[in-house]
Amino acid sequence: MTADLRTYLAHVELPNPVLTASGCGGTGRELAQFSDVHRLGAFVTRSITMAPRAGRPTPRMAETPSGLLNAVGLQGPGVEAFLERELPWLAERGARTVVSIGGGTVTEYTALARRLAGVDGITAVEINLSCPNVEDRGRVFARDGAAAAEVVASVRAATPYEVPVIAKLSPDVADVVAVARACVDGGADALAMINTPVGMSIDVDTMRPSLAAGTGGLSGPAVRPLAVRCVWQVHAALPGVPIIGMGGVTTGRDALELVLAGACAVAVGTALFHDPYACPRVLRELEELLQERGFDRLADAVGLAHRPAGAQPRTRTDLEESSL
């Protein structure tokens, strides 16, 4: 018997827990060459902005050990073109679409939420909080619980109640639980983590930063331990809040790791660049692993690594903020 893989983002049911990560699945059309987008738990769009954005100059990517730095800079056609050309295509294909939104001010996020309100075919709205707040000297919202909460509250207010609002968090904060709590208090129905921590690489031949933008976001398996830790900490503090886990998922084992830490859904990003079939493969592998372990339902595995330790001395868990 195969496990029941359904999962819930607040009251919205997804047939399975494997999603694309924002900004990593293109418009959906590109992946559809390889596998059906409606077989995804959900398709998460790149972060949509009000106006078209040309993004950052190239080079926009640099490979690092088990990681990838990117500075794409939210290139996209703007919300109108998205609603005209991209969303309808996804809806036609039967994809559940989570629309990620990005902005530089609370007003901009709110305007985006308003523009999306009432549009058909939107399963949830994900707020990319890793955008620089132009009103706070470019400090990203995700690094400041109060700013993040303000964005969440106003997007929540502008979004129909039946559409869940997901706040997407960054790991490079002193206390991810505090930011998570602020977002939930602000009205977030679910959380997504992690967005890419800021990294950099320098080309020792040109002796300049590898990326034109200097710094970039670090993704891929290199950051998985940070993702697992964030999901674990937030699930421990806010066990009732649905979490979409992501960061370096390439296999079903990686997905299960995040599920055991507390994620009820998992998004695949950088792995898509290596394997365009990554989402259905990860799902199949996850399903097999759950089955091998005797789970009837995915839900029973969510957060299971938190259960009080048994008698085995080697699995005693004694968690503190620092490892040292």
Partner: protein, 285 residues
């Protein structure tokens, strides 16, 4: 979808050295079938537990019908990924995705084409030459490199081309200089109707300038750093002027790698031109 790419784990049939380059022939039926000149593939490097996440892109040099279809890649060792590829032996397997990209558009009617290739860029030209000749076109080659051992395909060019002009920066083979130095002469002599070029951005810029001076069409295959090759990551963009006159940052892997030369804003590669759609300084961005 007919032309859509596939992922194939193919067996390496042969490996050989060609001067400074390595050539790998890999069994990849699904890719060979769909191949058109200008297509590329991406390959996974480093093996199962590799720390290298991104696929490497290579032009398909040649396809053959053997074993249901094989593709040949030609590459120089540049960094860790190509070093790993150079160590492959026959019977190893290689994970490929392809065919990818927009291939070279072919002229409707027979005409004279100059094919310009710099270093490994030349690898893309022979299948193209073949296709052009099948349509009755005349083909002239201009191949260049810093030194003789890095000029790829000179013999084959001599066999296939009406003329073949070689350039090396150190003068060790052909004319001393760059392909753009000799190109005007070749175009004039051949009374060429079109130019195809493949190589580094700087060379494509030069070739385009020459073609524009001669007022003949030029198709260039650009080589921009790619993370996915399938159009999802947006890292490979170049500023290209659209039919509507608007400059957009377009993906080299899907809208390209082949573009009309005069549409690529070579001077602005590595920047966001101020007048590009969505450039910073615009209303919201």
């Amino acid at each position: 979808m007919a032309g859509s790419p596939v992922q194939v784990t193919g067996t390496v049939l042969t490996t050989r050295r060609v001067d400074a380059y390595h050539a790998l022939t890999v069994v990849a039926p699904g890719i060979a079938d769909r191949f058109r000149p200008g297509h590329f593939v991406t390959v996974a490097v480093g093996g199962r537990d590799s720390s290298m996440l991104t696929r490497r892109a290579f032009t398909i040099h040649d396809v053959k019908p053997d074993y249901g279809g094989t593709v040949e890649l030609v590459f120089g060792v540049r960094g860790a990924g190509t070093a790993w590829l150079a160590d492959l032996r026959a019977r190893d397997t290689l994970d490929l995705v392809g065919p990818l990209g927009r291939p070279f558009p072919l002229p409707r009617d027979p005409c004279t084409c100059v094919l310009v290739g710099d270093e490994h860029g030349a690898a893309a030209l022979f299948a193209l030459a073949d296709a052009l000749q099948q349509r009755g076109c005349r083909v002239d080659f201009v191949l260049g490199a810093p030194s003789a051992d890095r000029v790829f395909g000179a013999l084959r060019a001599r066999r296939m081309g009406e003329t073949t002009t070689l350039t090396t920066e150190d003068g060790s083979l052909g004319m001393r200089g760059r392909v753009t130095d000799v190109l005007p002469g070749v175009i004039a002599d051949a009374r060429a109707d079109a130019v195809y070029a493949c190589g580094p951005m700087e060379m494509l810029r030069g070739v385009t300038t020459v073609a524009v001076e001669f007022d003949i069409p030029v198709q260039v295959a650009v080589e921009e750093s790619m993370a996915c090759g399938i159009g999802v990551c947006m890292t490979c963009v170049v500023p290209v002027i659209g039919d509507d006159g608007v400059t957009r940052m377009v993906r080299a892997c899907t809208e390209g790698p082949v573009f009309r030369g005069e549409r690529v804003r070579f001077d602005d590669v590595g920047t966001i031109p101020f007048d590009a759609l969505g450039a910073p300084g615009g209303r919201h961005a």
